[in-house]
């Protein structure tokens, strides 16, 4: 196979683009270091380990134009509404803040603001953390995101404060006439003993996107603080998404994260969690469901730097049609991280002979008193189970959907936010089939495993 030449054009366009963008004075430092990092990183090829199974050739056609704000806001709410969820909401379209769809939040001890609307005190928090948690070494898109920092969202929860409602951060992408790019940023800072629930939601119109969204989330969780984090990707299948979630965990802090990703043209996100101080806990559950010609690539890196930290990581994927997925999960136990407990499980279901999964769970251990396990499986639907369902009158297509959904049901049922579970069911049903006769068991939550009330 011939090696594709590095897409110098793409990089130069990107650099030229970010150079011309106006930005607030406080961001000069992070932008400059991001710029330098991006300029120095080679463009990934098939030989670059982190990008081995995700080709960036599609980006040759990607220009760095400013996305047009062509989206009719009247239609926005149907894209992001989570029925029954009482939440604070901030809405961004193509990376730009939309005040008219966003809530004004005034709770003592809580700061929630768009970067461009931040007051002096909020701005001080932003500049203190921005760029200091995200890592640019493995992901050039994060470097580029640093170089382009301007708009974004800040959540700052003060010491001993509990955010009284979930914060729903909606990122809407709208279809563009020519290829465009947009940047989005999210900074969550929880001071010691603070608690919050945050939903990062990525949606788009159902039409060819022509838009690349480059998004970076940085999360600081202080001593004894806890964040419940959700990341939901349901953009159109033509979307390009390059994302990163970077988490710093401090003493006895907790990070609980649920991630759901439908496929895109290329959807790549990295999750990096640093157990910086002892006693921290990270629990991550994720499902990815590409179909047609979609592509999903998830890389997770868990760094056990301090002792007595725990990680529990479970990802499940269902690949249909000609879809491809990549899962790379790395747990790295540093020499001082004694008594670490870490568990990584990745299970995959291939629904067609042309679907693909490249999974690589990795454990790297430099401490001698730890308990770690990792594993990955790849399977197809079980014929025996299928026949069992058929022998009770259930059609083959419905049986296949029941078994596929069963593969991820356990993870979905463990989502503590009930309105979210209820919103996800029809979304996922639609993913398996548009024929509601075949997905009625998904839509009918009364018959769910755990949701059936009082015995």
């Amino acid at each position: 196979m011939t090696e594709v030449a590095p897409k110098i054009d793409f990089c130069q366009d990107a650099l030229a683009f970010v150079k011309t963008q106006a930005h607030a004075a406080g961001f000069s430092e992070v932008r400059e270091s991001g710029y330098a990092a991006f300029a120095s990183l080679p463009f990934p090829t098939r030989k670059t380990e982190e990008w081995k199974y995700t080709s960036l050739n599609a980006l040759t056609l990607q220009d760095y134009n400013q996305a047009a704000q062509n989206f009719d806001l009247k239609n926005a709410s149907e894209l992001y509404t989570i029925e029954g969820l009482d939440a604070y909401r901030l809405v961004f379209v193509n990376g730009l803040f939309v005040a008219e769809l966003s809530d004004n939040i005034a709770q003592a001890g809580i700061e929630i603001t768009a970067f461009t609307e931040a007051n002096e005190q909020q701005r001080a928090v932003i500049t203190q953390y921005i760029g200091n948690i995200a890592e640019t070494r493995r992901n050039l898109f994060t470097a580029l995101n640093n170089a382009a920092v301007e708009e974004g969202v800040l959540l700052h929860v003060s010491k001993n404060t509990v955010l009284d409602k979930p914060l729903q951060i909606v990122n809407i992408s709208s279809a563009q006439a020519t290829t465009c790019s947009a940047f989005a940023r999210c900074l969550l800072v929880l001071d010691p003993l603070a608690q919050a629930t945050v939903i990062e939601q990525f949606v788009s119109t159902r039409e060819p996107q022509n838009l690349l969204l480059n998004q970076t989330t940085e999360i600081h969780i202080g001593d004894g603080a806890k964040l419940n984090h959700y990341r939901l990707h349901s953009e159109d299948e033509t979307s390009l998404h390059f994302g990163g979630v970077y988490v710093d965990l401090n003493r006895d802090s907790q990070f609980e994260s649920y991630q759901v990703a439908l496929g895109g043209k290329i959807k790549r996100f990295d999750v990096l969690v640093n157990h910086n101080q002892s006693g921290s806990h990270c629990e991550m559950k994720g499902v990815y469901l590409p179909k047609n010609d979609q592509h999903v690539d998830i890389h997770s890196y868990i760094e056990h730097i301090a002792a007595h930290c725990t990680t529990d990581e479970t990802y499940r994927g269902i690949m249909a049609d000609r879809a491809k997925a990549v899962f790379n999960g790395r747990i790295h136990i540093h020499p001082d991280a004694q008594k670490s407990l870490a568990n990584l499980s990745n299970k995959n279901l291939l629904l067609s002979n042309k679907a693909q999964i490249n999974t690589k769970p990795e454990l790297e251990i430099y401490a001698d008193d730890v308990r770690c396990a990792h594993g990955a499986t790849v399977a197809q639907l079980d014929d025996k189970a299928c026949f069992y369902l058929q022998s009770r009158g259930i059609s083959r297509p419905e049986a296949e959907i029941m078994l596929s959904f069963a593969f991820i049901n356990e993870l979905l049922e463990s989502i503590p936010l009930e309105p979210l579970r209820k919103t996800l069911r029809p979304l996922l049903a639609q993913q398996f089939s548009s024929n509601q006769n075949l997905t009625r068991h998904i839509l009918d939550e009364d018959s769910g495993v755990h949701s059936e009330g009082g015995a």
Binding site: D382, D383, K384, A385, F387, Y388, L389, Q390, S391, R392, G393, I394, S395, R396, E398, A399, M402, L403, F405, A406, F407, I408, N409, E410, R440, H441, D444, D446, S447, G448, V449, H450, E452, A455
Partner: protein, 249 residues
């Protein structure tokens, strides 16, 4: 109800059924006994439409319809039910969800409306009680982590819910202790009626103490080699299958 004429079938190029004839009338209970490898389970699998079993000759009429042409799910909807020898565990699909999907499909086929959730739940709980399964089993994954006896009782529970016309019990008694056996037998007996027939495939006579058959057939080498009344089972128990196989009868 069921007419099997000269049925021949093979599995992976091996002839298993070699010209089997059987006539089951409404309301009758037929026991099929036989040594290991005689083709007992193959008969159940062929009748219920499992893939991997190819019928090479003969015909099977179920209420006048040639069912060999039908998919497994269509046979089930027509009223054929196979209680599995080894029920499959399906984590992630709850028993309740499974029963509902099954009932919906079968009722739809019969031209009936789907049962509303409350009526359905009430019925399911009632039937659970009848087979002595705790109601929590409805919420658990299908057969997931069930003991052998619980799995078999779950099969009977499904049978009671779906109200089939013909039930084939494939070695439902294997691996059951006497208590579980009685529960299963009571379940079956409660379902007996003038319009419902049973084929009970078993290796042992024991089950037939509790479910009294109208006819007993001996299956050996892919054919029914001897038929009789319930007393034939006792005779078999006493003399062993070699009595038939050696042609001493």
């Amino acid at each position: 109800m069921l007419t099997i004429k000269n049925l021949q079938a093979k599995v992976e190029e091996k002839d298993i059924l070699k010209g089997l004839n059987l006539e089951v009338k409404p309301g009758e209970i037929h026991a099929i006994m036989g040594p290991n490898g005689a083709g007992k389970s193959t008969l159940g699998n062929v009748l219920s439409g499992r893939e991997g079993y190819s019928v090479t000759g003969g015909e099977v009429l179920f209420n006048g319809k040639d069912i060999l042409e039908l998919d497994a799910e269509e046979r089930a909807r027509e009223g054929l039910f196979l209680a599995f020898q080894y029920p499959v565990e399906i984590p992630g699909v709850s028993n309740l969800e499974f029963l509902k999907a099954s009932m919906d499909a079968i009722r739809q086929h019969r031209g009936e409306d789907a049962m509303d959730s409350m009526t359905f739940l009430k019925l399911a709980r009632e039937k659970c009680k009848a087979v002595n399964l705790d109601q929590n089993f409805l919420k658990r994954g299908v057969n997931e982590g069930f003991s052998g006896g619980e799995k078999k009782r779950n099969e009977i529970l499904q049978m009671m819910m779906l109200e089939p016309k013909l039930c084939i019990l494939d070695e439902t008694d294997s691996g059951l202790d006497i208590d579980a056996l009685q529960v299963v037998a009571e379940g079956v007996n409660s379902q007996r009626g003038p319009d419902r027939s049973f084929i009970i495939v078993t290796h042992y006579q024991r089950l037939l103490d509790y479910i009294v058959p109208d006819f007993v057939h001996v299956l050996a080498d892919g054919k029914i080699v001897k038929s009789g009344g319930k007393e034939l089972a006792l005779e078999l128990e006493e003399k062993g299958y070699s009595w038939i196989e050696n042609g001493e009868a």
